[in-house]
Amino acid sequence: MSTDDLTPSEAARWAARSGLPLAPERQGAVAATADHIHSVVSVLRELDFGDTPPSAAYRAGGEQHDAAV
């Protein structure tokens, strides 16, 4: 277990802040899964993104009006 891993009670508190109650018997499994996910996605911190924008797109007009198909 690394120093930034969540304990079961911490996972329950984080979930509660998201409005998701976690019964005591679920807290261990959720903490372990969340820690595994965290260990995978944290690798992205190695990247220097500079001015790179996120990939999500937003169009003020809502639709592509040039659609010809």
């Binding site: 969540l6 996972a11 984080w14 979930a15 998201s18 409005g19 998701l20 109650p21 976690l22 679920r26 499994a29 959720v30 899964t33 969340a34 595994h36 996910i37 965290h38 995978v40 996605v41 944290s42 690798v43 992205l44 911190r45 190695e46 990247l47 993104f49 790179t52 924008p53 996120p54 990939s55 999500a56 797109a57 169009r59 809502g62 639709e63 592509q64 040039d66 659609a67 010809a68 198909v69």
Partner: protein, 463 residues
């Protein structure tokens, strides 16, 4: 040969020339479903009466005015994430008990307009959040996984219990089960096929596409599905295209990239040997093989997870609080844990995706198609959870199945899987052909040429 054994192209030709009626074809496929469903469990629901009615209507229309196109009167199955008005979209989940779709999805409406006849809805790994589809058995060996999440669709097509089917693909969910069951699967370019009315796993990664017996069939279905729909915000106004590959098998001028890294790492030797033989066949047909290095491989899985995990939890926010006990254990814990990912992690994944897309576009400047294995291993035994590689590395089955297919979801490039042989246990092996964005024509051309000259056309499960 029974009508249910026909490919889509052959059935369409038989209908067009009056040698086969849609009624005969649909009846034959419905009988085949009755025969194989108890063993394979590909279908959630079969709409036999509705299908027979639609087949009679198609027969009348064709008798009066000729076939509208190659899908007119052709029996099709839909993954049960795809809405058909007035019927349940179960997502293979108890959470959807009592569901009724208010309208047709864009893809169902387009297939109906083309004259396709829906015979039923097929099983998905619950809400598409998994790679095995436990309700369904592999068409080649009932003790092995179907693959997922479009397992029911792939098994239905492999077992000849649908002439074609639709699946969805967020990390490989069309290509993985297609490869494990010896059929063709196409994940089109992101945005080419609208997803309106299709239950989402992850908006930024979801695709809809065909699962078929042949590459030509996949092209025929794609032709009916593609085209802009403003109700899907990712839908693009791509130019109209005839995706059907020509009859020739000459690949002169086609540049096929062969990865020197990533796609052949931790791959079963039998899978690697079959795929390399298939690549050599592409070269014999005139393609020029080009060494390519896959960029930023260390960041593929983190980017995929950083997008998919929080988006899936967001989609299920209400039901995860209202009826959490109705989810399967494996899906529930992923959805719960996904609530704990920070917005910073999600944004980092989006920015990494921007970098990955550009790096892939740069790599693909030098090639038309990249050829690689679809999955690193063939179908594992049901219940197997991990794979141990020759160097002692242990990988979960899900991670192994998604590893080679997820890059095309993150980058959005088109990706086709084509059967290229069987391993010593008699299980199918798939080759993946990836193209440039909206480069479906090149991957279909390469896949079709291989199929016409390779062994793939003869693959039929014993089931």
């Amino acid at each position: 040969m029974q009508p249910y054994e026909l490919t889509l192209a052959d059935a369409a030709e038989a209908i067009r020339t009056g040698r086969l009626s849609p009624v005969e074809l649909v009846d034959s496929v419905l009988e085949r479903i009755e025969q194989v469903q108890p063993r394979l469990g590909a279908y959630v629901s079969v709409t036999a009466d509705r299908a027979r009615h639609a087949a009679r209507r198609a027969a009348d229309e064709i008798a009066a005015a000729g076939a509208r196109g190659p899908l007119h009167g052709i029996p099709a199955a839909l993954k049960d994430l795809i809405d058909v008005a007035g019927t349940a979209t179960s997502a293979s989940s108890r959470v959807r008990e009592g569901h009724r779709a208010p309208g047709d999805s864009t893809v169902a409406a387009r297939l109906s307009a083309a004259g396709a006849v829906f015979v039923g809805k097929t099983h998905t790994h619950e809400f598409a959040y998994g790679l095995t589809t436990p309700q369904t058995a592999n068409a080649w060996d009932r003790g092995r996984v179907a693959g997922g999440s479009s397992g029911g669709s792939a098994v239905a097509v492999a077992a000849r219990a649908a002439t074609f089917a639709l699946g969805t693909d967020t990390g490989g969910s069309i290509r993985v089960p297609a490869a494990l069951n010896g059929v063709v699967g196409l994940k089109p370019t992101y945005g080419l096929v609208p997803r309106h009315g299709v239950t989402s796993l992850s908006w930024s990664l979801d695709h809809v596409g065909p699962i078929t017996r042949t590459v030509e069939d996949a092209a025929l279905v794609l032709g009916a599905l593609a085209g802009h729909d403003p109700r899907d915000p990712a839908s693009v106004a791509a130019p109209p295209a005839d995706h059907r590959p020509g009859p020739g098998t000459d690949l002169t001028g086609l540049r096929v990239g062969v990865p020197g890294n990533y796609y052949f790492d931790h791959v079963d030797p039998d899978v690697e040997a079959s795929v390399r033989r298939a690549i050599a066949r592409l070269a014999e047909l005139g393609a020029r093989l080009v060494d390519v290095e896959i960029p930023m491989t260390r960041y593929i899985r983190p980017t995929h997870w950083g997008l998919m995990v929080p988006e899936a939890s967001a989609y299920h926010e209400r039901t995860l609080r209202a009826v959490p006990e109705l989810y399967s254990a494996d899906v529930r814990v992923l959805l719960e844990a996904g609530e704990l990912m920070t917005a910073g992690d999600h944004l980092r994944a989006q920015r990494a995706r921007t970098l990955l897309r550009q790096a892939w576009l740069d790599m693909m400047d030098t090639v038309d198609v990249i050829a690689a294995p679809t999955v690193p291993i063939t179908a594992v035994a049901a219940g197997q959870t991990a794979v141990t590689w020759h160097d002692g590395t242990v990988e979960s089955v899900s991670d192994a199945y998604v590893r080679l297919s997820a890059p095309a979801n993150v980058t959005g490039v088109p990706a086709l899987t084509v059967p290229v042989g069987l391993d010593p246990q008699g299980l199918p092996i798939g080759m993946q052909l990836m193209g440039r964005p909206f480069g479906e024509a090149a991957v279909l051309r390469a896949g079709h040429a291989y199929e016409r000259t390779g062994t793939a056309g003869g693959l039929t499960p014993a089931a």
